[in-house]
């Protein structure tokens, strides 16, 4: 499977705000349009809940759980980052409003 690896540390030097999370998501969506799968490598980085929510939470909400799990791979997360990411994904997918808004991103 065609997988593009994104090193969060190098690709997104600013990882604290919602706007920086939105920018990161836009780049990941562009990559998803060109590749079957995108691997997000969180090795040696810390993120804020807002950044994580915009990047992976909203991405999961847009793609839907099944598509997200199939096409987005998360790796290299510390225990704290994994906890943030798990929380924002679950929250977005379980929120009735957000879940109903999800849309497919063409491959």
């Amino acid at each position: 499977m065609d997988t593009f690896v994104v090193e969060i540390r190098n690709c997104f030097p600013t990882r604290s705000s919602r706007p920086s999370g939105r920018e990161a998501r836009a780049r990941v969506i562009t990559l998803l349009n060109a590749h079957e799968r995108v691997k997000l490598d969180f090795t040696a980085v810390a993120v804020t809940p807002s950044f994580a929510d915009e990047l992976v939470g909203t991405l999961a909400s847009n793609l839907g759980r099944q598509e997200f799990e199939k096409r987005v791979v998360l790796e290299g997360m510390s225990a704290d980052t994994a906890a943030i990411v798990r929380h924002v994904i679950n929250r977005r997918l379980r929120s009735p409003v957000e879940a109903s808004n999800h849309r497919e991103i063409p491959n």
Binding site: P13, T14, S16, S20, T48, P49, E54, S78, D80, A83
Partner: protein, 332 residues
């Protein structure tokens, strides 16, 4: 007009209480403790042990006292100066100085320390004296204006270095980065005011005191007004303390509009696990969360904007994992 902060000296009493004053001065660089003021030594140091010093944690009444002093400064152009400055003193004083165009005069021994902490420089004023810059790495962050998003990230990283340095790398560095960066971003987002003033941040660690503090201050809209933008909160705001409400999970003035209200909730929950303290002031309202005590109260003097004081024990964990795992995943 010159505005003065002066010592109300009880130096002899203080020096008697501070029998190991030289020890303090050498070990902690708290040279201002050799002079006295109206606050007693017991207000600063709880006890000295072989392991170090137990600094008295910041209380809500300490901050209220300082607010009262600043109100006196505004009204009478003079007020007592604390002998032991913590980050919140500098941050609130700088915000006050920004609103008051008079020239401020501090006791001479404080003046040098205040210059080193960029009290004047952060608000683009010329300091009254010059001092050699110290390498602050891991010990303090001089007062800094949050002018852009890049500055927020840089300060959050420096704050994490303080946590890491003071803990010998044992605490969860990344967890506290998340909390502090989130708070700084909140401050940056909410501090837009008509007068163009930026939020201010200041931090200091006291290594032998095993304590560190970050103060984040802005003169923006304030918490109550910000939360009022969320119609679903108006009923609660009519009867609840806005500062306490803002520390609850998923409370935000912009909820559903891209915001989730993580900042103060994360700070409060992380500090709860660390036996640290979170103090929030905004308008006439205040909230304190510390070990064994949670307080919401009304203030005698208003703060025009928001003050957040994040104070933690450097010898205890600041992990965020348990906090995230404990949060609900569905909004009510």
């Amino acid at each position: 007009m010159t505005v003065c902060l002066s010592h109300d000296v009880q130096a002899s009493k203080l020096k008697r209480q501070l029998s190991s004053g030289d020890f303090f001065a050498r070990a902690h660089g708290v040279q201002m403790l050799t002079d006295g003021d109206r606050f007693s030594m017991e207000a600063i140091v709880r006890r000295v042990t072989k392991r170090g010093i137990d600094l008295v944690p910041t209380s809500l009444s300490d901050v209220e006292n300082w607010l009262r002093c600043l109100a006196a400064l505004r009204a009478d152009s003079s007020c007592p100066s604390p002998s032991f400055y913590r980050p919140y003193h500098f941050a609130m004083l700088a915000a006050e100085m920004r609103l008051n165009r008079g020239s401020f005069k501090l006791p001479i021994d404080i003046q040098k320390y205040a210059t080193r902490m960029h009290l004047w420089q952060a608000i683009e004023r010329t300091p009254p004296t010059s001092v050699g810059e110290w390498n602050p790495s891991g010990k303090f962050i001089p007062l800094t204006a949050l002018r852009d998003a890049g500055e927020v990230d840089r300060i959050a990283t420096e704050l994490s270095e303080i946590v890491d340095y003071q803990s010998g790398g044992e605490t969860s560095l990344r967890g506290v980065y998340s909390a502090l960066a989130e708070l700084l971003n909140n401050c940056f987002d909410h501090s837009e005011s008509a007068d163009g003033h930026f939020g201010l941040v200041c931090a200091q660690a006291w290594p032998r005191g095993r304590m560190a503090q970050v103060a984040i201050v802005d003169s923006g809209a304030g918490i109550r007004r910000t939360l009022s933008a969320n119609a679903s909160l108006r009923r609660r705001l009519a009867s609840e303390n806005a500062c306490e409400l803002a520390t609850q999970y998923a409370i935000s003035g912009k909820l559903g509009n891209g915001h989730s209200g993580y900042g103060l909730t994360l700070a409060r929950d992380i500090l709860r696990g660390n036996s640290g303290r979170l103090i929030v002031l905004s308008g006439f309202e205040a909230f304190y969360s510390g070990p064994n005590q949670v307080l919401s109260q009304r203030l005698m003097h208003a703060w025009p904007g928001t003050v957040i004081i994040f104070e933690w024990r450097t010898d205890k964990d600041l992990s965020a994992r348990a906090v995230y795992d404990g949060w609900p995943e569905i909004e009510d």
